[in-house]
């Protein structure tokens, strides 16, 4: 096979995927973590979950995003973090697509904010595409968690990729 050079290239693709997904998660969580009430309302605005459950998720989500993001940026437990991050993206996609389909006009609240906005202000398509891109990153890292400059490799050795 085109072994070593190909492997190296794939490691670098993994690095990019890891930094993209991790970076976005850290930024998204960081912007929300200081405003828990706002975050809770953003989740409620989707009108998918019972009031109290939506509140709990709204409060927990920023912390989850930051932690997963940090793991990905460090390349630590890359596969586990990528699987969880990918599941988050799937949940986000379901939320956004369902809001779109139901004719709600809300801000996704992905980076703070959230709640109802004017119909002309919605940008569901770009939100869906962005999360699809991030889902792709998660999928790559799930299949091939070995990346360049990751802590996994350094700490746990070869067999843990």
């Amino acid at each position: 096979m085109a072994s070593r050079r190909g492997e190296r290239r794939a490691d670098l693709v993994g690095l990019v995927a890891r930094l993209a997904l991790g970076g976005v998660l850290v930024v998204a969580g960081g912007l929300k973590v200081a405003e828990p009430a706002q975050s809770a309302m953003a989740v409620r605005a989707y009108q998918l979950l019972p009031y109290d459950l939506a509140g709990v998720i709204g409060h927990a989500l920023p912390v989850v995003e930051i932690l997963l993001g940090l793991l990905l940026l460090a390349g630590l437990f890359t596969r586990v973090a990528a699987v969880l991050g990918g599941l988050l993206m799937v949940a986000f996609e379901i939320g956004i697509l369902s809001a779109w389909a139901r004719g709600l006009s809300i801000d996704c609240g992905c980076f703070g904010g959230g709640g109802t906005i004017a119909a002309s202000q919605t940008h569901y398509l770009s939100e869906v595409l962005r999360d699809a891109g991030l889902l792709l990153c998660a999928a790559w890292l799930t299949v091939r968690p070995r990346t360049a400059y990751g802590l996994d490799h350094r700490l746990f050795g070869q067999e843990h990729a």
Partner: protein, 247 residues
Amino acid sequence: MTSRPDASAKIKAAAPKQGPNRILIGGIVAAVAILGIVLAVILGSSSGSSGTSGSSALPQGATGTGGGIVANASTAKAGAPTLDLYEDFQCPVCGKLEQVFGQQISSMAKAGDIKLVVHMMSFLDAKLGNDASVRAAAAAACAADQGKFLDYHGVVYANQPAQEGAGYTDADLMGFASKAGISGSALTTWTKCFDARTHLGYAKDVETAAEKAGVFSTPTLKLNGKDLPLQQLSQQYLTDQVKAATK
């Protein structure tokens, strides 16, 4: 074999300790994650703006726990449609709405052509990092007890700060009471109600109830439960819609 026992120990010590290391670090990460999530949920739900007991005192005219205040219970005609008005005292567009439609809406209410129900939301407190909306709502609820709800409501919007987020001080809200025509013993009662934060719980319940009803922005107008699109709103449109909804 038994002659050189220390060599195997040396080899063992030199080998990288992979298993336990990974489990240990994983355990630490998981512990941090659980701690962080639990902490965030506890802190978040105690930060106030989410629902409260429901055992709080209801102001006069409130339709129930977390319900809006019926501004014109005495004048509303039997077949008049219900206009639900969801507003936040710190919302600039609500201020605009009051400027343009406030007069019309309150005269329709006074004439009894509509049953006006005002839901004072306060989610902008979270957005703006203060508590002015919920305090103003509690203050207006105290005014409702004195039969001066619409007057107080109007004074607050007339004095909305030019810059969103500047909010209302307690002194502002107290000054609004006399501007709304509350005086004498009524003012004493109002002040007592305001100082004791009597209706703060009610105000929080209103926000919760509005969100449960799917209202996440202000102003929102519902005529007999149906959303009135803000983009189409004009005085003529409002008049026509009310006429059409009247039985």
